[in-house]
């Protein structure tokens, strides 16, 4: 996003106005990515018009469960977050870091010079804005920056959506990132799918956003619309499906040797689903590959997961041999050690890891169980 603006007028646009926004972003040479319906889930994908959005589709999420149904009121954002996250557009699942060619004496490397994509993310929720901010700290703002992430992030516009219908596994209120977006967006939308008129409130959060908004057919938001949006957000706050214990970081620090890890290990499949759907999990591995002649080599970076055995391998053996220590690594990193490392939680309360766990392991319930077991009720 570009430079934030201090105050912004709230305007309303209708469905056509949103379509005009998508086309305006396209006219800027941007690839617009937003929620689309695919394979029975709302995922992220290219959006070229408002017709690509999942109108009238709502999701139902629970531990280890996800299903969709049509609702009919035509709302475009009446769903929670799906299995995809925005990190894949900034930190791709597979990326060639560089290629190398054998020369007479040694080798020459060529960095990956793919052009930075100009992207616009449509429908970014509060939890996912918090996730982007967390990833910024890991991949951009430390002593070293990942060149791909930093460049993609600088080029991406963020069109946020205030969440008015949290899913059954959501707990962003506990983690402080939602449902209303606070900062880090270019434009923020609040959808009001009324009986007679379907409108969206729009607020600019940056100069780029304000310029975009100025080019759209919009009206000033009236008091009734503002009040309706407030009421919807207040309702969303009260309809979180889950909550996280506030002292979770200390509970986990104190619970490293808890007997509960063994209990989780009996259920956990170490399948890595939770890390793949997590919007902040950033672990990666590198693979060095050569062509058949042995003259060309390249280094590929791939998403990795702390749930695999090889993740912790050093000569002589694997550090985390059991599912207990791997689950403990994941949850304590996410909820406790992330604070030590990056000054923020690694969990945003998006609930994806709960929904997409094949056996329904619930991060909020496991945190409570550790607390209760260790007698900190």
């Amino acid at each position: 996003m570009s430079r934030p603006v201090a105050t912004a007028d709230v305007r309303t646009i209708d469905r056509e106005g949103l379509d005009a926004l998508i086309r305006a972003l396209g006219a800027q040479g941007r690839r617009v990515i937003g929620p689309v319906l695919r394979d029975g889930a709302i995922v992220t994908g290219p959006v070229t018009s408002v017709d690509d959005l999942p109108a009238g589709v709502v999701d139902h999420q629970e531990a280890g469960g996800y299903h969709l149904e049509g609702q009919g009121n035509g709302a475009l954002f009446h769903h929670g977050v799906g299995p995809h996250t925005w990190k894949r557009y900034l930190y791709p699942p597979v990326r060639t870091l560089w290629t190398a060619r054998r020369v007479r004496r040694g080798f020459e490397t060529t960095p990956n010079a793919e052009p930075t994509p100009r992207q616009a993310f449509l429908g970014v929720r509060g939890c996912d804005l918090a996730a982007l901010s967390a990833l910024d700290r890991v991949l951009r703002d430390g002593p070293y920056a990942d060149p791909c992430y930093a460049a993609c992030r600088a080029e991406a516009l963020v069109i946020a959506v205030n969440c008015t219908r949290p899913g059954g596994t959501c707990f962003c209120v506990s983690m402080g990132g939602g449902p209303k977006v606070a900062a880090g967006y270019d434009l923020a939308l609040t959808e009001l799918p009324g009986e007679d008129r379907h409108v969206l409130l729009v607020e600019a959060g940056s100069e780029a956003g304000a310029a975009l908004l100025a080019g759209l057919p919009s009206e000033p938001a009236d008091r009734a619309a503002l009040a309706a949006a407030e009421a919807r957000l207040a309702e969303a706050v009260d309809s979180m499906g889950r909550d996280m214990i506030p002292d979770v970081a200390q509970v986990l620090r104190d619970g490293l040797t808890s007997g509960h890890w063994d209990d989780v290990a009996r259920r956990c499949l170490s399948c890595a689903n939770c890390t793949l759907v997590c919007p902040t999990c950033f672990c990666s591995t590198v693979e060095d590959v050569t062509d058949l002649t042995g003259g060309e080599a390249r280094r590929e970076r791939r998403w990795d997961s702390c749930f695999t055995l090889d993740f912790s391998y050093i000569h002589g053996g694997h550090i985390r041999r059991g599912g207990d220590s791997r689950y403990r690594q994941w949850i304590t990193h996410k909820l406790a050690h992330w604070h030590d490392q990056f000054g923020t939680s690694g969990c945003t309360g998006c609930g994806r890891c709960i929904t997409w766990c094949p056996v329904g392991i619930d991060i909020t319930e496991e945190a409570k169980a550790i607390k209760n077991r260790e007698g900190r009720t």
Binding site: L97, W98, A100, R102, R105, G106, F107, E108, T109, P111, V138, L139, G142, P143, Y144, D146, P147, R253, L256, T257, F282, C283, S284, T285, V286, D288, V289, T290, G294, A297, R299, R301, D304, C306, F311, S312, Y313, I314, H315, G316, I319, R320, R321, G322, D324, S325, Q329, T332, H333, A336, H337, H339, D340, Q341
Partner: protein, 280 residues
């Protein structure tokens, strides 16, 4: 002049192998020089580099040379895996990739005015050698200087000639033990922690640097504590899987620390709470 870090921290620089020296049956030393010029490779004792073999892979290896010598970059490596095995098969004139230096260093300034006890095991002597060079180069700044070294067998004693030279000096104390005596060994037999109990140093004002297998470090810390060395004066060098060395890949996490950028050298009290927990 130092080698300028590439803008992309993941891009290795080609270095030519000037010399290769066999140290032990499975351990060897490489002397490296940047192919495309650049002067001395500036580093602090305890830091490491990522060494890349074309098309094979990359591993973290501590620097084992003298930090104040403006000669080649020196690495001592034990062949235990695919990449270290490929490095062992290379010869002078071959080229490898180098990224670095990375990580924290032994706190040599903080230790000034104190006795310094170096407790090392096996190939752990290699990351310790730069600090030994530094301490000897500034010998007058330190109190007593002790190297307590343990190897599995006499055949596994690394830098043996150098240890003998150091041992012959009057201004430092070198004690070596082996787990299992073979051949003509007439020296000490037993674990390195036993050397701590009988070494002559002032435990209430000594700095201890420990590097070796994790289990050896655990018992060394215990023995140092028993002598009265406080946790905040004990530093140790940790080892974990590493893919990037710059804090992106997540592999080297050790509790709230990244071994690559917060370590590998840690003050013991910073990791005390997790050091004895299983499988962290």
């Amino acid at each position: 002049m130092s080698v300028t870090a590439a803008a992309d921290p993941m891009l290795p620089e080609p270095f030519g192998i000037l010399r290769k020296r066999r140290e032990l049956s499975d351990t060897f030393t490489l002397e490296l020089s940047p192919l495309h010029g650049g002067g001395t490779f500036a580093f602090r004792p305890g830091q490491f580099n990522m060494l890349y073999v074309f098309g094979v892979g990359e591993i973290p290896i501590s620097i084992s040379g003298d930090p104040e010598d403006d000669g080649p970059l020196v690495h001592t490596i034990r062949a235990v895996g695919t990449v270290s095995g490929a490095l062992r098969d290379m010869e002078a004139g071959d080229v490898i990739g180098v990224r670095g230096p990375f990580g924290s260093a032994w706190p040599v300034e903080e230790a000034e005015g104190r006795d310094v006890v170096l407790v090392t095991g096996g190939v752990g002597l290699a990351p310790m050698r730069p600090v030994i060079h530094h301490l000897l180069a500034h010998r007058q700044r330190y109190g007593k200087l002790l190297i307590l070294y343990g190897a599995r067998t006499p055949e596994d004693v690394l830098f043996r000639k150098q240890l003998e030279q150091w041992r012959s000096r009057f201004d430092m104390f070198v004690d070596v033990t082996v787990d299992r005596a073979t051949g003509k060994w007439r020296g000490r037999v037993g674990v390195v922690t036993k050397l701590i109990a009988r070494a002559g140093f002032d435990p209430h004002d000594a700095a201890a640097f420990v590097c070796g297998p994790e289990v050896m470090m655990r018992f060394s810390v215990q023995a140092l504590n028993e002598r009265g060395v406080a946790d905040e004066r004990i530093h140790l060098s940790m080892e974990r899987n590493m893919k990037c060395a710059v804090g992106f890949c997540g592999h080297c996490q050790f509790g709230g620390q990244f071994v690559c950028k917060d370590g590998p050298v840690f003050r013991f009290d910073a990791i005390r709470d997790i050091f004895s927990v299983w499988e962290v």
